[in-house]
């Protein structure tokens, strides 16, 4: 269990590091809905991974699969919407410049 917590912490750091680096490099200013999307996607992705690993530890394979399907799909949908919103944000910022 402590390994899972360590792993999740490491993934969180990597995701946030990646996002902030990408924002800085491209000089993008994210709107609050985009930030919300980023945070939600991160949380859902982390939840999916944590669920998956915990179910594997418990040997509950069906629960692991169903969790991956449902929570993973949810994370993917939120990610898609957020991505769309960020692209729109960057486009409107480029126009403004």
């Amino acid at each position: 269990m402590s390994l899972i917590i360590f792993g999740l912490g490491a993934i969180t750091v990597l995701i946030l590091w990646g996002i902030t680096g990408w924002i800085k490099r491209n000089q993008i200013k994210l709107s609050w809905p985009s930030w919300l999307g980023v945070i939600l996607t991160t949380l859902l992705a982390l939840f999916t991974v944590a669920w998956l690993l915990s179910c594997i530890i418990e040997r509950e394979t069906q629960a692991a699969g169903m969790g991956l399907l449902i929570f993973g799909a949810l994370a993917f949908i939120v990610f898609g919407l957020t991505r769309k919103k960020i692209i729109r944000d960057t486009k409107s910022q480029a126009k403004g410049k």
């Binding site: 269990m1 944590a50 669920w51 915990s54 179910c55 530890i57 418990e58 040997r59 509950e60 394979t61 069906q62 629960a63 169903m66 969790g67």
Partner: protein
Amino acid sequence: MNNKTKTAIKLDRRQFLKISALATTSGALMGTSENRSPIKITNKCQRMDQKNTIFSRQLWDYEFVKRIESSIDRASMEALEKVKGWTPLDQALDAAAWALDHKFASGSEGGQPHSQAYEWDEPVRRKKVEFQNPKDASRKIKKAARYLGADLVGISPYDPLWTYSLLIKENFESEPGSDGKPEFEHFVPEFPFEPKSVVSIAVEMDYETMALSPSSLESAATGLGYSRMCSVGYSVATFIRALGYRAFANGNDVSLSIPYAVAAGLGELGRHGMLITPEYGPRVRLVKVFTELELKPDNPKAFGAWEFCKNCKRCADACPSQAIPTGEPTLEGKTISNNPGVLKWYIDPEKCIQFWRENGTDCANCITACPFNKPPMWHHQLSAGIVALPVAPIHTIMAKMDKFFGFGDVNDRRANAAFWEKD
């Protein structure tokens, strides 16, 4: 009163009696008479005669025993040895898990009061250890109980309503009569002291083997629970006696267990007639210690289980004998082993025990299928938090999701076969 009577017929004691938790509750009540319970108790609720509990009926209810015996198919019982979960290897584990209980508490397992590890009058230290106050005493007793192996421990005042009005005990010393039937005593309980407090102890049963219900491997989980009950119960009673206060442990004998556990804040009553704890769900066994030591009682704790049960019927669906009701809570059950007067779901212990006999071992489908039966992992604790919300549609969705995710599956032959392959 000491009323000796001949018994009619004797069932296979172990098989017949492992039903304790179910029988206790099905024959029983809920809450305590001092308004400490979240459950409604009416005037119709009286002290129960132990003779009517499902496990004690084997001593005298000839018709009932005959009916159950007649449903056993001996040929298929012999063939069972080839089925995964009932192989000689599985049965050996079952026997080993029950061994301590059979050695030191086989009487109580079958409802025999005042026997072996659960005797009432063990020696007590002469000089009493003084405590600052009942709160201080409670804290120390609980600390010791956890040290001695209790997974959950709570305290409530002694309430005579939950002690059987009459006890029943098979008289092993007397010679059987000419008809070969043993004798039993039927008597008013007279303890060597006036109990003031009850220490309720829950011991967890193994998750992995419990999930293999119904089989010998699942029976091993139950057996290990019984063995731990007698070890922890006897140890805690000994601790209190070593402090200079009279105390004795009791399991399936003497009194009901669940009303005390609810009053002590260990959990809530479920549709399947068992205690549901927030930590382990119904996957626990209960033992209690009666003592003359005055202890500070805990408060009952509702965490949403009773409300959840109204919208979840997984135990009823998983029950092979349709012994668990699917409707609303009522004030009485259908058999003499149900004690009326408490608003709850009354299971049918006769149907339940009949299935046990047909099955060749016991059954714990209702424990396994219950969505509260989970190991203590973060994601289950999160679900428990959601379940605690008093919103009926959420309960219905959560109960469906639990099944959808594959939790609480029963009759899983493949899992039984895989048991010995896993490290």
